[in-house]
């Protein structure tokens, strides 16, 4: 539990330089300069509880050692040197015997600092925490688990990270050599090809068979994961390499940690970008649709500049913080903008087809194009460059007029410059008028939003999504706050009422829509906020999602992660109720059974007590809106003081 020890304060620019220097400086064995002085004095403690292993070690080692002890420096100490060279702050893990060597090296040789071992209650939670951490920190953390049962648990979280374009380094323990493997569970927990299980939704994986191989593959994995599109990567951590000594494994050969080279994000072909700029400049009703264009704070600024240059609306699909939501040109949802547009620019869309076509969930599954006759479609995305088969996250095929295979954020400055050049003088007044109209429309929409918030449900029991969002906002609006959850279950009321301005204030959703992401991802994100000046992290948590991984609450307490979790407790897997209703109505046999298998009644979950059982302050259940403000204030005050807090709020369904 080393929150203070875990702080890094590493500047990213310096970090890149530091890696280069470290890479050069560590062209020596693992016991060289990067080993902390405090850890150097500690004797290696890893042993294998096997007489045969001790006999083998004695027979092959020239070092005089006591029977039953590891001679020399464990290979996993070098692995920790590699993690340190990559500035990995955290290893999120549920302990696994196939990773015991590196586990011990992290906590003892490495001083449990950069990386710090974060105790997780489930491998899926470990990867989800890595996912949430990345989206705030902007750099990957690692997870560590068994290569078999652990990775099977983790697989859905890896898929979420894949769909959400999130970097993560998935480390999995494994022992390949059957002769050198204990029977029973260790053999059940071994696998020939550790990366196979998640290969469809990781960007790269490897199974290094020497320490040098491990070093090179780790640096490569980091580089690949952090090259847009960001994606998870997997490295198997061979038990033999962890547990045997460097002397035994290397036979005198020196180990080198390679220098990390970062790959610049690919910008679009200038000719294609110039053509796109001409279309946008001459359009009467251009519309931008953004999903994950805001990779970094620079992406938000770049999108605002393009939108203001064209005075065109931006439909924000909320995959990331793309556009300040109260900007007059920002449109959450978009209404009928697509239908009216003559030129549409898509930026890193999860689903281009779904953005410009409609399809209902009726018996007929009716579908239709939303594009008006002659509308032009421009798309900037890495999706056409980097695509896999099998899992269908690439969505349906959509014809495009100008398809630019590139990173949107890296391309936007060039596009904006070309748009400025392409706007003829006689169109400037038209474009300026568009801006005036947009401001007027935005003000009117704001008025409608506020009146919609003041609906018939404002004082209702259970509590409405608008009321809860407004109550939270009054207590955080003057703080350095960040939302670490999505808000679609609340009918996007936070995005309709709050004022999102900074890139770190919103991180999107799970990506793959796999349930069980919310709570652990919020914990990981809150850790990064804590490390970045203790931002006030707010998690509006779906109740059903939280029951997949309640152990994440324990991790938050154990590792002192300040996080205000407000349970959005509609006492159901509510979306599934609506699906069941739909089925029942299609068949016209009544919806009275739609609650079976979909609701969380009989008994209700007491989330405050659940939190309290793990040492977390918990309030609720709160059912009356008049009790909300005081509870939220107490929660905010406690989180600002460094505590995690949970407030259970019983709510309307959406």
């Amino acid at each position: 539990m080393a929150r203070k020890a875990g702080r890094s304060g590493v500047d990213r620019r310096k970090f890149l330089t530091g890696v280069a220097v470290t890479g050069a400086a560590t062209a020596v064995s693992a016991t060289g300069a990067v080993r902390p002085a405090s850890a150097a004095a500690a004797a290696p403690a890893a042993t294998r509880p096997s007489t045969a292993a001790a006999q083998r070690e004695l027979a092959t080692s020239s070092v005089q050692v006591a029977p039953g002890t590891t001679p020399g420096t464990p290979g996993s100490d070098f692995m920790v040197d590699v993690l340190k060279s990559l500035d990995i702050d955290y290893v999120f893990s549920n302990p696994a015997s196939s990773a015991r060597g590196i586990h011990e090296s992290i906590t003892t040789y490495g001083g449990n600092k950069k990386p710090e071992f974060i105790t997780c209650m489930h491998e899926e939670s470990a990867v989800a925490m890595t996912h949430g951490y990345f989206k705030v920190a902007g750099k990957p953390a690692a997870s560590l688990s068994h290569g078999t049962v652990g990775l099977q648990h983790a697989a859905m979280a890896v898929y979420n990270a894949w769909c959400d374009r999130a970097a993560a380094i998935i480390l999995v323990g494994n022992r390949m050599d059957a002769v050198d493997r204990q029977p029973g569970v260790p053999t059940i927990h071994a696998v020939q090809d550790p990366g196979l299980l998640t290969r469809d939704f990781t960007k790269w994986d490897d199974n290094p068979q020497s320490l040098q191989h491990f070093a090179e593959s780790m640096v490569r994995a980091y580089k690949i994961s952090m090259t847009p599109p960001y994606e998870p990567v997997l490295i198997a951590v061979e038990e033999k390499l962890q547990e045997e000594s460097i002397e035994q494994l290397q036979h005198g050969k020196k180990l080198v940690i390679p220098k990390l080279n970062r790959v610049s994000a690919p910008a679009g072909d200038p000719n294609a970008v110039r053509e796109a700029a001409k279309l946008l400049a001459m359009a009467d009703n251009p519309v931008i649709v953004a999903d994950r264009s805001g990779r970094t704070p620079a992406g938000v600024k770049a999108l605002v500049e393009l939108a203001e240059t064209l005075n065109c609306p931006v439909v924000d699909n909320l995959g990331r913080m793309n556009m300040p939501n109260q900007h007059p040109l920002c449109r959450i949802g978009g209404g009928n903008l697509i239908e009216q547009a003559d030129v549409i620019l898509g930026l890193e869309l999860t689903d281009l087809w779904g953005s410009v076509n409609s399809m209902d969930d009726s018996v007929e599954m009716r579908q239709a194009s939303r594009l008006k006759q002659g509308a032009k479609l421009i798309n900037i995305s890495m999706a056409d460059i980097y695509i896999r088969a099998n899992y269908q996250d690439f969505m349906r095929y959509q014809p495009i007029d100008i398809a630019i295979g590139a990173d949107a954020e890296a391309t936007l400055p060039m596009l904006t410059e070309y748009v400025k050049q392409a706007i003829p003088a006689d169109r400037r007044a038209v474009i300026a008028a568009r801006g005036d109209a947009a401001k007027k429309a935005h003000a009117q929409a704001r008025e409608r939003t506020l009146q919609a918030a003041a609906s018939s449900a404002w004082n209702a029991i259970p509590i409405s999504s608008a009321r809860l969002s407004a109550e939270i906002w009054q207590h955080i609006k003057n703080e350095n706050w960040a939302l670490v959850s999505r808000d679609s279950s609340l009918s996007n009321w936070p995005h309709r009422l709050w004022d999102f301005r900074e890139h770190h204030q919103f991180i999107g959703g799970p990506g793959g829509a796999g349930i069980g992401y919310g709570l652990p991802a919020a914990v990981g994100a809150a850790m990064a906020h804590r490390d970045n000046g203790r931002r006030l992290a707010i998690n509006i948590q779906n109740d059903g999602d939280s029951m997949y991984a309640p152990g994440a609450l324990w991790t938050a307490v154990h590792h002192n992660v300040p996080l205000l979790t407000i349970m959005w407790n509609n006492r159901a897997y509510h979306q599934e109720i609506m699906h069941l209703q739909r089925m029942a109505n299609w068949r016209q046999r009544g919806v009275e059974n739609a609650h079976i298998g979909t609701t969380i009644w009989s008994p209700f979950v007491d989330f405050a007590k659940l939190a309290q059982s793990m040492g977390m302050t918990g309030y609720g259940p709160i059912t009356d809106p008049k009790d909300l403000s005081a509870a939220i204030k107490r929660g905010v005050d406690a989180v600002k003081a460094g505590e995690p807090v949970l407030i259970d709020v019983v709510t309307q369904p959406r």
């Binding site: 999504s465 109720i577 309307q652």
Partner: protein, 122 residues
């Protein structure tokens, strides 16, 4: 567990538009029992998409305070819709039950002006 609903926000908007433009059947609302209507509103799950007070949400438009259409239009829509909102035929919701639901929706008081609510007086 699927999250298809999140992908169909646009389609729901279209459905909402259709809801508002449903053909008028001309007849005035027959007498209904609001108390029974509330029970039926909950029993047949109207609130799951439209909210317990009919306030609307991501999955369904506002249908109360005020009720956005005449009874005939609502009745026609509920019986014949084939979009994102599934139809309720008389087999699962009688005319009297639908009438009672309409009475319940009409009984929900109009909300206050947002300017009178300190949290929303921006």
């Amino acid at each position: 567990m699927r999250t298809r609903f999140t992908l169909f926000a646009a389609a729901v908007v279209l459905s909402a538009a259709a809801f508002g433009n449903a053909p008028s059947f001309g007849a005035a609302a027959p007498a209904g029992d609001a108390a029974k209507g509330k029970a039926n509103f909950e029993r047949v799950g109207c609130w799951q998409c439209h909210g317990r007070e009919g306030q609307g949400g991501r999955e369904g438009p506002r249908i109360a305070a005020p009720v956005p259409m005449a009874y005939a239009a609502l009745s026609g829509f509920v019986r014949t819709t084939s979009g994102d909102m599934p139809p309720y035929t008389e087999k699962v919701l009688s005319n009297q039950e639908l009438t009672d639901i309409y009475a319940y929706l009409q009984s929900i008081p109009a909300p206050p002006d947002h300017k009178t609510i300190p949290l929303l007086a921006q």
